[in-house]
Symmetry: none
Subunit: 401 residues, 2 copies
């Protein structure tokens, strides 16, 4: 039996409140002093929760597999990330409130810089042009039309935009144009299956016209498309878990994935304090809150040990405000590891802390990688976390007589 | 490959003796002094076995899922509880030692009260009528005959009874009549698949006659049927494991589950001492013994911390008598947790102790939740336990060349 089917069968409504606090890219590796970002951080409130709760390590997908943001979060939400494959383009479109339909094909677009003489990429992010410049270029790209399909181009932030083609017969199974390195030209879109041939042709036609329009727009004189995908059919969390789900996230992609699984995305600001205020404001209206903190990951990606540590300490400071709302169950973890030493997402299992009614405290004294390796939850998969959260909140009935 | 297929392929006969000692609902939660029922219990013999053996934590099904008695035991016996679904009617019939056959369809029956004017349910348990009244009403219901099938009605306790139809062509895949609320009428039995249409008709005919016979029997003037099910086809332990299996249990339901998987149910008395005497008496005739202790669970269900602790201490006292029989392998665990604090089955992983030839002692000093969380077996699923028991008894040959 698929786990979502089992959970759909066992989930029951209730009045308990659950918070899933996700520090993006939480897991780390030892720094110069031998401690990880989380271990080095001064986190008296998280440590107190670890002492009262039960801890463990969680593997996002399977051991050794590094997840993207989509699979990392799908696992956290109880969806098998190997069964539900969500393209980056879809996430990006959902994240800017674009109303994607089932006939839509979405791509994440990146403006880039190419050498006008050779056509080789010199900067994959076009010098991180300001958002206003990106918006002006997007307006220019809206001139392009394609035969038989509607075309939408939407700005995101800095050098990023979304391209959506709408029409019957569009298919995914397409390669990306970004070669992921400089000194080489962008790649053409290729169909990975016969049904996608026409879609690939349309996209290459669009790319050619777009590059012509951008030719004089140095440094954003070219572009790439990534994560070309359609929306997969996916069960909705409120249906599966019989609960009202609210999502609080400052970054579009995480709002997008939350919306995809059926959560209500709650308007919030740019800071962690804004997110806490949003949580407080909507506390009575939801059973389950997904609370996403982005900058742990951003600092990990930058290789900034101290920066990541500081974000974790910032989160620690708002723990009392969350606890003041009296959640029945609080789970703290990340979607994946982003160790400063790797400057990227990684496969490492990461700490998870479960606090709430009916946990059996395990003697773990602090929230950190090494402490959690000996935790009473043992070594779990992300897929196991929602069932545990639901169980401790009294939201799962018995299986079998 | 299904695990049972693998075990069937690898199991070999031998002369070793195995005991699986199951304290029902063993796992607990901290009490007022911070220790769980098992931790608080004085268990010098179990602690000695823990020091000589190897310990761990076992999850009955998957994390967060609370098992009923059927799935909890199936997992212990090596059967995937998500693959073998035993209906409530079947368990109820097994629980009164009813000899269910493969042509039988069993249902749990509940007497209830309906408003004579509207037919709406006013009490789903008919005021919990005394067991004697239930037995008299069951005798009355035995008047009903149905075309082409044998009908059995058996009392259970208070307002509960078992209905069994016996005949070829009966099929499960049937809805229950209990709407699980008052103020509405009982539901008809509906077939969820075409093969079950005739069975549904027979059951509705029986229900109509039963309600006519009960019309004047206030408060038990109506009834409901739940968990309508047939015995699923299930491999037998002696075939899978190449061993003679004896079951010792004081409560009918556990004898029933043991019989279902092909164990010989050994006659015993009501006490743990009776069970030990039965074990001693049959020691030479079996390879594997399932030894079930019920009252840990009963006390957990009652929220009785001290009572559950006392039952565990009682079990500890009979350990020397079991060890005097010189088993090669002894495994001690439970089918699930029944923490006093929850007064019900729960999802919590629970301690498991493996003692015997060729274990690698892990340094665990006492048998308890927190000690076992750090045990050398790590965190297992119930499904993993029979293979470990068999392996340590020298009963599994190598997989592959």
């Amino acid at each position: 039996m698929d786990q979502l089917d089992l959970l759909r069968r066992l989930s029951i409504p209730g009045t308990s409140k659950m918070v899933l606090l996700v520090m993006d890219g939480l897991g780390g590796l030892p720094g110069p002093n031998g401690l990880t970002e989380l271990e080095a951080a001064h986190t008296p409130h998280l440590d107190a929760l670890a002492r009262e709760g039960i801890c463990g390590m969680s593997t996002p997908i399977t051991p050794g597999i590094t997840p993207g943001s989509g699979p990392g979060h799908l696992g956290l939400f109880g969806y098998d990330p190997l069964a539900y494959d969500i393209g980056r383009g879809v996430l990006e479109a959902l994240g800017i409130d674009f109303a994607l339909g089932s006939d839509d094909l979405a791509a994440r677009g990146n403006f880039c810089t190419v050498d006008p003489a050779t056509g080789f990429i010199t900067d994959r992010r076009a010098g991180r042009i300001p958002t206003e410049v990106g918006a002006r270029l997007v307006a220019k790209l809206r001139q392009i039309s394609l035969p038989g399909v509607e075309v939408f181009v939407e700005p995101v932030k800095e050098y990023r935009f979304v391209l959506v083609l709408r029409g019957s017969g569009l298919a995914d199974g397409l390669t990306e144009t970004d070669p992921q390195q400089t000194g080489v030209p962008p790649l053409p879109v290729k169909a990975l299956r016969p049904e996608a041939e026409r879609t690939a042709e349309l996209l290459n036609q669009w790319l050619a016209e777009a590059r012509r329009l951008l030719a004089d727009e140095y440094p954003a004189n070219s572009l790439n498309l990534r994560g070309l995908a359609k929306v997969p059919p996916i069960p909705k969390m409120p249906d599966v878990f019989q609960m009202r789900c609210g999502a609080i996230a400052t970054y579009p992609m995480y709002r997008g994935i939350a919306r995809l699984v059926g959560m209500d995305v709650l308007p919030t600001g740019d800071t962690i304090e804004d997110e806490v205020a949003t949580l407080r404001q909507h506390w009575d209206k939801y059973d389950f809150f997904f609370f996403h903190v982005k900058k742990t990951d951003s600092n990990g990606e930058d290789g900034n040990f101290e920066g990541k540590k500081a974000v974790i300490e910032h989160v620690d400071q708002i723990i009392p405000e969350i606890m003041a709302l009296k959640p029945n169950v609080l789970m703290v973890t990340g979607d994946h590891s982003t160790p400063w030493a790797l400057k990227s997402h990684s496969w490492h299992a990461l700490p998870v802390l479960l606090w709430g009614d009916y946990v059996c405290p395990d003697g773990v004294q602090a929230f950190g990688e090494r402490a959690c390796m000996a935790g009473g939850l043992g070594h779990l998969r992300h897929l196991d976390l929602m069932p545990l959260l639901m169980a401790h909140a009294g939201r799962l009935t018995k299986y079998g007589a």
